[in-house]
């Protein structure tokens, strides 16, 4: 063997180094939620089906490019299914019993009136284009919002989301994380017990058989919780709790802030026309709604309340978080990509509000008479804002590339060998 090691022609290459020493190469989970919430709110403000479909497609594209192979990422499929179910159910009921016969009649179904005890509901009858359009647009909007929720769920690991809550909410997040991990164990023990039932001849049927499964499973879960509590105690849970470091009155501040936040949201969002061109006269006189919306002041009051509520909550959470001296292992860093994702969500909302003022007809499409929903060049901005996080965020480490063993373990768990 030669003593000379052959050298590569050009050994120094520019390796693209990640900007931050991020462990998982994923964006901060809360930024995905902010982006998805922005897109969802934007969708909720319009009934233009073309725009809804465009934004939903953009969101779906981002999910397809940026989701990981981990189990929670599979939830996207569930949400897509739910979205389609919503559309089908709403349109079905509209056809079955929605028609009042006004407008363009597309076709007629055989009519049947239910008896009086069923409130005299009329089944079948004429199906109008207007009714179908209104329901279809509405269902589509709901489906789009569901898709955004699904996107957030499949892009952000729910456990990491819970881990990144303020220290004051630590106890709650621990409880939820434990609940999340106990659930699969319960399913496993239920399966084990059910298989064991066959061994005893399975003579119990119905409710009594249910008891035969439930009793061992519940006993399992109680025993499991007791040993979990014992384990947490011996591992120092709650050791750094020190209530003396929290100023009195923090709790009051938190409660008041959250109330302000709720009231503010009501003021801004409880707005009957669906866009921001409010007409206070649509409210019943003397109601809370009309009081808040009087002279368009409702939204102003609401905005002020929201800002005050947010500031109060942040301060309150900071102070009450001090009593826990818990540290965090490898917290998700907040990168510029995270900020940019949040901004994209915000841009989507702002663009939608601006469009609804500039061109209300394009955002709130008329369904009576039915017109072809218009598209405008400015809508492109919305779609770009929705799809942009799929471009600048780092590609996830698919577990098949990173850790083949892990990927194998997840696929194998689907058809688990009954060797417990």
């Amino acid at each position: 063997m030669s003593r000379l090691v052959t050298r590569t022609a050009n050994p120094v290459v520019g390796i693209p180094v990640a900007a931050t020493p991020s462990s998982t190469r994923t964006v901060h989970p809360w930024s995905w939620w902010a982006w998805a919430a922005g897109c969802g709110i934007a969708i909720s403000l319009t009934n233009n089906p073309l725009l809804v479909v465009l934004i939903t497609a953009a969101v779906t594209l981002v999910v397809a490019v940026r989701r990981t192979d981990e189990p929670w990422a599979r939830s996207a499929r569930v949400y897509t299914g739910m979205a389609f179910t919503v559309i089908i159910i709403r349109v079905f009921f509209q056809i079955l019993m929605g028609g009042d016969g006004k407008g363009t009649v597309l076709f007629r179904l055989p009519e049947a009136s239910l008896p009086n005890w069923a409130a005299g509901i009329c089944l079948g009858g004429p199906v109008t284009a207007e009714g179908l359009a209104a329901t279809g647009y509405d269902a589509l909007r709901l489906a789009g919002m569901l898709a955004c929720l699904g996107a957030a769920n499949s892009l952000a690991n729910p456990r990491r989301v819970l881990k990144s809550v303020p220290a004051a909410l630590h106890d709650i997040s621990v409880a939820v994380v434990i609940a999340l991990s106990v659930f699969p164990q319960l399913i496993a023990s239920a399966q084990r017990v059910r298989r064991a039932r066959r061994l005893r001849g399975n003579t119990r049927k119905g409710i009594r058989a249910l008891g035969a499964v439930l009793v061992p499973v519940l006993e399992d879960s109680v025993e499991m919780s007791m040993s979990l509590a014992r384990g947490m105690e011996s591992r120092g849970y709650g050791r750094t709790r020190d209530d003396r470091r929290v100023r009195p009155g923090t709790r009051v501040l938190l409660v008041v802030s959250v109330m302000a936040l709720t009231l503010g949201c009501y003021g801004v969002l409880a707005n009957p026309t669906g866009s921001f061109s409010t007409d206070p006269s649509t409210c019943a006189p003397g109601s809370l709604c009309s009081w808040l919306l009087m002279d368009r002041m409702g939204q102003h009051i609401g905005a002020v309340l929201i800002v005050a509520g947010i500031i109060g909550s942040v301060v309150g959470l900071r102070i009450s978080g001090r009593r826990l001296g818990v540290s965090r292992y490898r917290p998700d860093p907040w990168t510029w990509q995270a900020t940019a994702s949040c901004l994209c969500g915000a841009v989507a909302i702002v663009a939608m509000i601006w469009l609804s003022r500039a061109n209300p007809k394009a955002i709130t499409v008329s369904t009576s008479p039915v017109v072809w929903p218009p598209l405008e060049p400015a809508m492109l901005l919305l779609v770009v804002a929705a799809v942009f996080p799929g471009v600048f965020t780092p590609a996830p480490q698919r577990s098949t590339q990173a850790d083949p063993e892990q990927a194998a373990s997840w696929t194998s768990r689907q058809d688990e060998v009954p060797q417990l």
């Binding site: 001849g201 499991m224 040993s227 979990l228 001296g325 292992y329 060998v417 009954p418």
Partner: protein, 551 residues
């Protein structure tokens, strides 16, 4: 060496009990020692270990008199959470103690609670991953790991807080022997290489006693005997194979390893040599066949768990299935019973005609083949022993009282009104056996029956299983048991089938399969290799009688 743990005049009374479980205990643990805690089930081992980090009585309730001092801290004034940085505790079932879902997070959890800075945590996690040899598992979900891996993660998670004392309460009782070996090897490393003080309660003494410095024996009368393992084991009621051998040979102290025992036994040229079969399949077969398997196959997706397996089993024989985890033992049992999908033919000679238990309905299948699964207590769901027995009679369609009669024929006395959940592992197993035998099955399948049983219970189980095969509970049945426990197999079974990757790789009498290779044989056979000595009965027959008197 200084003492890190001191118990002085400690008495522990369980909540609601009038007399203390442990009375006037005085014990010390020197720094860096591995202390073994032994005793029959129910003598208070867990209670004693619980006092070492204050779980007893702070968490469990009850009353503790006397003082327990751990690393200079009195458990009277320190809650368990305040001892988390000096004592680490690992329990029987690792899954029940997991708080998070991935290996790395679980290891970091304890440190997060102690408020250790993120950079230090990162460094320690890396160190611990290497120490326990689980670095390649770091991103895995905890539930996707095997039992041995889970237990090692649990130990790693406790070690991350850098305690100097590690308390382990039967860490291997829920594991198969291969995984148990992994975990015990890790523990010995921690004692010898890292210098931790370890207090370990363990059933499988043969695997760990060679590393022990001290032994606490709980005879069950509320006292604790402390001493050197070779001395205490010579009189304890917990009898690992080498202790049984040393008693049979009349030695005053117990040798702690096979190597030491071989030296003490010395060369024994007069003993008959073990058979060295030239073929792996030596079981003669024939006789009263009751179970026929023809090209039986079990698939899980892409995985072939059992591959075209063909064999027959005779009435009255006890057959042992051996092989590593995933070699298809459990799959084979579940397939015979019909609880998993399988191809090929399964035939049972039921009431004079051959029938397939997989095609029979659950009640008939139960009269042909009866299976006791690994987690036997899954079969119990009623609040009292009496109700369980009555229900079993109904399920089997036999006269009332049959199950109860089987229990007493097995010579296991269980109080009628006792809740099965409150009984010991061995008592529960006996109850499940009685329930499953009440249908008078032709074939009895036992999946890992010795898990969590102590030596005395295993002896009892041997007697019960031999009784079933001989017909003590009905017609003589064929017993097929899957186990990793070579010692148990050697004393109990007639025939051994070794499985690997879904095939039978060896099939012969237990004696010929287990003594032909020194690696895969019970400790007594290892000691006397190459002589044909496998059990204590052999020792008494061959070794303790002079050559001239032997026939």
């Amino acid at each position: 060496m200084s003492d890190v743990i001191t118990l002085s005049n400690v008495s522990i009374t369980h909540p609601g009990a009038s007399t203390p479980t442990l009375r006037n205990i005085n014990l010390t643990v020197a720094e860096g020692d591995l202390t073994l805690v032994v005793g029959r089930t129910g003598t208070g081992k867990s209670t004693l270990l619980g006092t070492l980090n204050g779980i007893v009585p702070h968490f469990s309730g009850g009353r503790l008199d006397g003082t327990v001092t751990v690393a200079g801290r009195d458990t009277r004034t320190h809650r368990p959470r305040e001892l988390a940085d000096v004592v680490g505790v690992v329990g029987q079932n690792p899954v029940a103690g997991f708080v998070t879902d991935t290996v790395e997070d679980e290891i970091a959890y304890g440190m997060e609670q102690l408020g250790i800075s993120p950079s230090v945590m990162r460094k320690r996690v890396e160190e611990i991953l290497d120490l326990m040899g689980i670095a390649d598992l770091r991103r895995r979900a905890l539930l996707s790991l095997s039992g041995g891996q889970q237990q090692r993660v649990a130990i790693a998670a406790v070690l991350a807080a850098q305690p100097r004392i590690l308390v382990l309460d039967e860490p291997t009782s829920a594991l198969d022997p291969t995984a148990a070996q992994d975990v015990l090897a890790s523990i010995t490393t921690l004692v010898h290489d890292v210098g931790l003080t370890v207090i370990l309660a363990e059933h499988r003494l043969e695997r760990v006693m060679h590393a022990a410095d001290a032994l606490w024996w709980l005879p069950g009368d509320g006292s604790v005997v402390q001493g050197r393992p070779e001395e205490v084991l010579a009189r304890a009621d917990v009898v690992p194979p080498l202790a049984a051998l040393s008693r049979a040979m009349g030695w005053p102290t117990v040798p702690l390893s096979v190597r030491e025992t071989r030296r003490r036994v010395g060369p024994r040229p007069g003993l008959p040599r073990a058979p060295q079969p030239s073929e792996a399949m030596t079981w003669p077969g024939g006789g009263n066949e009751v179970l026929r398997l023809e090209t039986l196959g079990v698939d899980y997706g892409q995985v072939r768990a059992v591959d075209a397996l063909t064999t027959t089993v005779e009435r009255g024989t006890i057959t042992c299935l051996m092989g590593r985890n995933g070699s298809g033992k459990s799959s084979l049992m579940w397939a015979i019973q019909g609880a998993t999908k399988s191809s090929g033919r399964v035939l049972v000679n039921h009431e004079g005609s051959w029938a397939d238990p997989r095609k029979a309905d659950a009640a008939t299948a139960r009269r042909m083949v009866s299976l006791v699964p690994q987690s036997a207590s899954d079969l119990l769901y009623l609040p009292t022993v009496a109700e369980e027995c009555a229900q079993a009679d109904k399920e089997s369609g036999v006269p009332a009282g049959t199950t109860r009669a089987i229990l007493s024929r097995l010579r296991v006395e269980l109080p009628e009104d006792r809740n099965p959940r409150d009984m010991s592992e061995g008592q529960r197993l006996a109850l499940v056996l009685a329930i499953q035998l009440s249908s008078r099955p032709d074939v009895v399948l036992l999946d890992e029956p010795t898990r969590g049983l102590d030596y005395a219970m295993k002896t009892e189980l041997t007697r019960i299983v031999k009784g079933i095969a001989a017909g003590a509970t009905g017609d003589p049945a064929a017993v097929l048991l899957a186990t990793h426990d070579v010692e148990f197999a050697a004393t109990t079974t007639d025939r051994t089938i070794v499985m690997a990757t879904g095939h039978i790789v060896a099939d012969g009498s237990t004696r010929s399969v287990c003594t032909s290779s020194p690696g895969f044989s019970p400790q007594i056979a290892k000691v006397f290799h190459p002589a044909d000595v496998m059990t204590i009965a052999d020792v008494e027959r061959l070794v303790n009688t002079p050559a001239g008197d032997r026939r």
